[in-house]
Symmetry: none
Subunit: 226 residues, 2 copies
């Protein structure tokens, strides 16, 4: 299966940059548009497999774009981006058709998780949703983590952190990388959050022998590949 093609329609430069970079890194082909009009044209020219659509665009808004696309027979699923308080209820209904939404600010890992789920549901991706390292399994579709027979109860941030570490098994990840991917882009605490969460993850995941999450002093953290 070739790279899935994703159209990103977002007017804020910084956010568009983060999204595009994150998606490319994860192996997607990305096309960007800064306005609704450009977005429509781009989608008509070469239909994408998925569209990421800010609902608050100057000019034509996200809903309207989506409606027009559907009218033209473009069925690619949409992931809407919306501000926290605004219009969530307007979007609720849209998830029925396989679309989904994300509230700003979000983290790269959150975005990727949605994108994977939606692509999978629409049959555009066969990528497995289950990661495993040692006897720890993380099932994205079910959003469930287990160690051996035992189901682990992780908080949302713990889950994203573990997911990021596991999907990069065998590689050291610096604190900066972890912050950038697991925490949302508006978080700017220069603090020990990462350490704190690694610590609590270790407590829940357990140490089975010599510890799943290794500290690489002066560099970062690593989970060994099997």
């Amino acid at each position: 299966m070739p790279k899935a093609r994703i159209l990103v329609v977002e007017d804020e430069d910084n956010i568009a940059f983060v999204i595009a970079a994150g998606l490319r890194m994860a192996g997607f082909e990305v096309v960007e548009a800064r306005t609704g009009e450009d977005g429509l044209r781009a989608a008509e020219g070469h239909p994408p497999d998925l569209i990421i659509l800010d609902v608050m665009l100057p000019g034509i808004d996200g809903f309207e774009i989506c409606r027009r696309l559907r009218t033209e027979g473009i069925e690619a699923p949409v992931v809407f981006l919306t501000a926290r308080d605004a219009t969530v209820d307007r979007i609720r209904g849209l998830t029925i058709g396989g679309d989904d939404y994300l509230v700003k600010p979000f983290s790269v890992e959150e975005l990727l998780a949605r994108v994977r789920v939606v692509l999978r549901r629409s049959g555009k991706s066969h990528e497995s949703q289950v990661l495993s390292c040692d006897d720890v399994m993380l099932d994205d579709e079910a959003h469930r983590v287990s160690r051996g027979d035992q189901v682990l109860h992780l908080s949302p941030t713990e889950y994203k952190l573990l997911r990021f570490l596991m999907s990069n098994a065998g590689r050291v990840l610096s604190r900066a990388q972890i912050l950038d991917h697991v925490w949302d882009y508006s978080f700017d605490g220069e603090s020990t959050v990462v350490e704190t969460f690694v610590s609590s993850l270790r407590k829940k995941v357990g140490t089975g022998g010599r510890g799943l999450i290794k500290t690489v002093r002066g560099v970062g953290y690593r989970i060994d590949a099997d």
Copy 2:
């Protein structure tokens, strides 16, 4: 695969020189630019495989350059160079999308390590991340060193030193060369640091027979190629 081509955009002569020399010695093709404008032109003329970009440039800054490049469809990964005290929020987000950053002052080995990892991740290099001499293996991606089955626990400086020696196996390296590559460019202690670290490395790596790290009296040190 041909030599990877690296564009260095840095206004400080000394630093640019150190970087370019280090990269060339490691076998890369280097193009230099002293301003953001020149950097953009150079990248547009003949797209590089990787860009090293100072964030604090007079005129257009590093972030802006990066954004414009991406807009033009130039996807080469970027290694940003930043000052230690740069406000945290500007540093956030730099590792998204396969990019990375380095805080000044850094050592040449540190820079090379980043460059290799980033090139590898972007598929522009098939160079293995694993060096081996005798039964000692050094895995850059995992940042792990082992001798036989045993994992060795090295400090950051010991690791950089060993890496430099191993990647130049078969060649004598003078104390001056070692200082220049392993210690950051602002370090000016003319002391016995190198000897001290060679000593502690030998203790950890062990001597398995006739010693991995050979002293070449009056000249420097050498690790023999397999």
